[in-house]
């Protein structure tokens, strides 16, 4: 099995991918502008980290969707404009609630609607809780794992922050709006480090299965 990750060349991609904590979670690091088909031939699971340049992802769309067509797994994290290039992805913006955690009366709106899902054997539900960058509308048959309800009397749409889609393509597409590579790589938000501890353990388990 081979777990590969794209590197956008930013300081936070570098710190998360090459820093001591997670370096052993990736078998291959591919500099995104230089991605070619041969980089992906033997890849069982490919991670597109959050905030990767969406122009590059749109340009590489045939290579990325081919991973799924060959029955492999593609993981796409937040702020990558996945709705413009990944199969079946629909999204809507939602105001970013950067400061929710300063109000003691505020409880996070996150719901864990499939607690028996295998991801939660590795990922603690509360480690998915930080501010929200938009929501996803999973296709019929896909499994939402973290969702938020609509808010402010319907002005902010509800939807998924993370889902698992094994129906749209022959492969497996895991999509999220969460941005842990950025925050862990900026050394500033411990919840995102705890999330990656579990999530990158799960992606290795997935690549072996």
């Amino acid at each position: 099995m081979t777990v590969a990750v794209l590197d956008g060349g930013t300081f936070y991609h570098h710190e998360t991918i090459f820093g001591d904590r997670f370096r052993d979670r990736f078998d291959r690091v591919i500099y995104a502008p230089a991605l070619t088909a041969s980089d992906l031939t033997d890849v069982t699971l490919l991670i597109v980290p959050d905030r990767l340049n969406p122009d590059l992802l749109r340009r590489h769309r045939p290579l990325l969707t081919d991973v799924l067509a060959r029955g492999r797994t593609l993981v796409v994290l937040g702020e990558c404009e996945a709705e413009t290039w990944a199969p079946g992805v629909r999204s809507a913006p939602r105001p970013t609630n950067f400061w929710w955690w300063l109000d003691p009366a505020e409880t996070p709106p996150h719901r864990f609607v499939a607690p028996e899902h295998e991801m939660f054997r590795h990922v603690a539900p509360e480690s998915t809780v930080w501010h929200i960058h938009g929501v996803l509308f999973p296709p019929d048959g896909a499994v939402p794992l973290v969702t938020v309800p609509e808010d402010r009397d319907g002005r902010d749409p509800g939807g998924a922050l993370l889902y698992d889609d094994r129906v749209t393509t022959p492969g497996r597409l895991i999509v999220s709006t969460l941005d842990p590579f950025y925050h862990h790589g900026s050394r500033f938000m411990p919840a995102t480090t705890r999330f990656l501890d579990g999530f990158l353990t799960w992606t290795r388990a997935l690549a072996r299965s």
């Binding site: 590197d7 956008g8 060349g9 930013t10 300081f11 936070y12 570098h14 710190e15 500099y31 502008p33 905030r51 990767l52 340049n53 969406p54 122009d55 590059l56 702020e79 400061w99 300063l102 900026s186 050394r187 500033f188």
Partner: protein, 207 residues
């Protein structure tokens, strides 16, 4: 550097995520310059365009920048000014070194101190740099070693770790801020002064 036009141009680079500097027009009123948004991968062509200064932010592809270090060094040496924000993973200009973690993450470690006054930060309160909504660390929570001869403007914590510094390179100058984009601050506090004062410094007349 030959300047054919009175109106000076600042290039603000992006990496795929759209930015629009048009929203800055009101805050830059009275400054004789325009800010042009440019895809980073068009750097080579953009630098032939006689720009007075560059904004290189925290979301840039530093591997690409490092591969183009000679181009950037030549640009500054010929008289250009560059403002850089973020942490450095891949040094891309003479004088840049990789980011280093602070010794701790407490409020004392994250408290910003001013080493010298500088026009870019005139009227900007240290309290507003250290805290946002009572939370410390948004302006800076890591440090970088400055090159020899640099002027350190702000430091972090009791160990006075360098956070902002400026150095000369040939006929030009580089301003480095080791945190969130210096030009992105501007809520309802004194950090709102940073953008226009930075742009004034980037475009001031110089020989």
């Amino acid at each position: 550097m030959i300047r054919r036009h009175a109106m000076k141009t600042i290039l603000r680079f992006s990496c795929g995520h759209r930015v629009s500097s048009a929203a800055w027009a009101g805050r830059l009123a009275g400054l004789d310059c325009t800010v042009r948004d440019v895809d980073l991968y068009a750097l080579d062509a953009a630098l032939r365009d006689d720009a007075a200064a560059l904004l290189i932010g925290m979301h840039m592809d530093q591997r690409f920048l490092q591969a183009n270090a000679a181009l950037l060094n030549d640009y500054v040496a010929a008289g250009g000014r560059v403002a850089i924000s973020g942490h450095v993973a891949h040094p891309f200009l003479d004088g840049l070194t990789p980011v280093r973690p602070l010794d701790g993450g407490g409020i004392a470690d994250l408290t910003v101190a001013r080493a010298v006054a500088h026009p870019i930060w005139e009227g900007v309160a240290l309290e507003d740099l250290t805290f946002r909504r009572g939370v410390a660390g948004f302006y800076g929570h890591a440090w970088h070693a400055p090159p020899e001869g640099a002027t350190v403007i702000h430091t972090l914590g009791p160990a006075r770790r360098p956070l902002d510094f400026i150095w000369r390179l040939g006929r030009g100058a580089v301003l480095f801020h080791g945190g969130n984009d210096l030009w992105s601050f501007g809520g309802d506090d004194t950090t709102r002064r940073l953008l226009p004062q930075l742009v004034a410094w980037l475009t001031e007349d110089r020989s």
